[in-house]
């Protein structure tokens, strides 16, 4: 066994715990040496401890600097705050990295999609500054800052360069929101000057959506403010197989949390029928972050093989396997290949 890593596991709620157990089974079978520290987060926590994010959980993440997270629930329109947004704020996880890459065995109408999305994760309309300014008017402040915009652009160019990427586009609506999106675009252009080897440009968000569904292969890397990033990363996930296969990482300067981007599907909780692939591919992304490339490759290869065979896949991809059976099939495939 190689170097031991200590990772905080946040199973979340709804189907989260059963998904995370399946993912742990697969990751542990990959040969990587991980000590998992389980901590609580989310709605169950709110009911038990009066907070979405207990201090014990915060301290564990701060200590380990890396976490794998299952889904959590956020009510719409009312009720408690989002556990996800709280985590991003507390640890200043300013970069949401959302790769959208075709999984070969999932038949899609496109030959090639391999887009790296870099979503600014902490400001924009997510600054939680909302007011009912009269009894019939609500407003939400869209907060865009120079340092916040500059650092996500810097992060994106650095990541793209390390990954051998060739082209980055900034997505914006600066033709209408000239101050806010204009500032975001200005910062991007300033950073782009430092990376002459990477082609850079910009595209208006509505055009970008249209281009993504017509010809997604033209895009390499996208840098987006928070709200457009939230929407377009799901659009990109839809292009390659849906949220059930979409990995995500929330990264700051000193901490990274890897998570599925889908919801907690509470109505399926305990049924052990949901597809754990999104948390699993987030786990693969985490292993690569930890420089455990061999383990990541093993899991990915086995997962693709199981999906290709279609014998032990979950209902959403046309099978009847349970969450655990799918995970075990991946483990068996890894061992068979060994």
């Amino acid at each position: 066994m190689g170097t031991q890593h200590v990772v905080t596991m946040l199973p979340g709620e709804g189907t989260g715990p059963e998904i995370c157990e399946a993912v742990r089974l697969v990751i542990d079978a990959s040969g990587v040496n991980i000590k998992w520290e389980y901590e609580e987060i989310g709605l169950d926590c709110l009911e038990k401890h009066g907070t979405l994010l207990p201090d014990k959980t915060v301290q564990a993440i701060a200590r380990n600097k890396i976490a794998l997270k299952g889904p959590t629930t956020t009510p719409i329109g009312t009720g408690h705050k989002s556990a996800n947004v709280t985590l991003r704020k507390v640890f200043d996880l300013y970069a949401n990295v959302r790769p959208a890459k075709l999984i070969p065995v999932l038949k899609r109408p496109w030959d090639k999609i391999d887009i790296l999305n870099f979503r600014e994760n902490t400001e924009d309309c997510y600054a939680a500054i909302e007011h009912m300014v009269s009894d019939e008017v609500a407003q939400c402040l869209k907060v865009i800052t120079w340092p916040g915009s500059y650092r996500i652009a810097e992060f994106a160019f650095k990541w793209a360069k390390a990954a051998g990427r060739k082209k980055i586009y900034c997505v914006h609506k600066a033709n209408i929101m000239k101050m806010t999106d204009g500032l975001f675009l200005d910062a991007f252009r300033e950073v782009a000057k430092k990376y002459p080897d990477i082609e850079s440009g910009d595209i208006i968000v509505d055009n970008c959506c249209m281009q993504l569904v017509r010809n997604p292969a033209q895009f390499d890397c996208l840098v987006l403010p928070n709200l457009y990033g939230d929407i377009l990363t799901d659009l990109c996930a839809g292009l390659v197989g849906g949220l059930g296969f979409a990995p995500g990482a929330n990264v700051g300067d000193n901490c990274a949390i890897f998570e599925a981007v889908h919801g907690s599907a509470p109505k399926y909780a305990g049924l052990k029928k949901v597809n754990p692939s999104a948390v699993l591919v987030s786990g693969i992304m985490m292993l690569r972050w930890m420089k455990e490339e061999a383990a990541a490759d093993r899991i990915q290869k086995a997962m693709f093989a199981v999906l290709d065979e279609r014998k032990h896949v979950t209902y959403d991809v046309g099978g009847t396997a349970t969450t655990d059976e799918y995970a075990q099939a991946i483990v068996d495939k890894m061992h068979a290949k060994a």
Binding site: V58, K81, V85, T86, K89, V90, F91, D92, Y94, T122, E123, Y126, A127, A128, I129, E130, H131, M132, V133, D135, E136, V143, T145, W146, P147, G148, R151, G252, D253, N254
Partner: protein, 116 residues
């Protein structure tokens, strides 16, 4: 035949509005501001880029800008004139502010969000 605009306007409901505080947007290069109570207003929290930075824990790694949202809540019943007095006092204390936003409850429910 009423237009859609007419129909929409007719749905307006009367709600009881009560002034309960002020959000102040302060610009400073001197770090997180500190405030004593100003008249009937007490500082409840301060946020920067939407993240609460006072009171309580703030990560030393947190990116902060020079613009703070400072929430002052009324400690007793207040009127609009109290806000004028508050703003005047704040300016006289040397605080540079970009905007203020009155905080109202509507039928007893807060018409404003909390910070993360």
């Amino acid at each position: 035949m009423p237009t859609c605009t007419d129909i929409a306007k007719a749905t307006k409901k009367k709600r009881e509005i009560k002034l309960v505080g002020i959000d102040m947007y302060i610009i400073t290069e001197k770090g997180i501001p500190k405030f004593d109570d100003i008249g009937p207003f007490k500082c409840e929290f301060i946020s920067n880029r939407g993240t609460k930075v006072w009171p309580g824990f703030v990560s030393p790694d947190l990116l902060m800008v020079n613009w703070y949202r400072c929430r002052f809540m009324a400690t007793k019943d207040v009127q609009d004139a109290d806000v004028n007095t508050f703003l005047d006092a704040l300016t006289k204390k040397g605080w540079w502010w970009s905007a203020s936003q009155k905080l109202w409850n509507y039928d007893g429910e807060a018409g404003f969000s909390k910070a993360y």
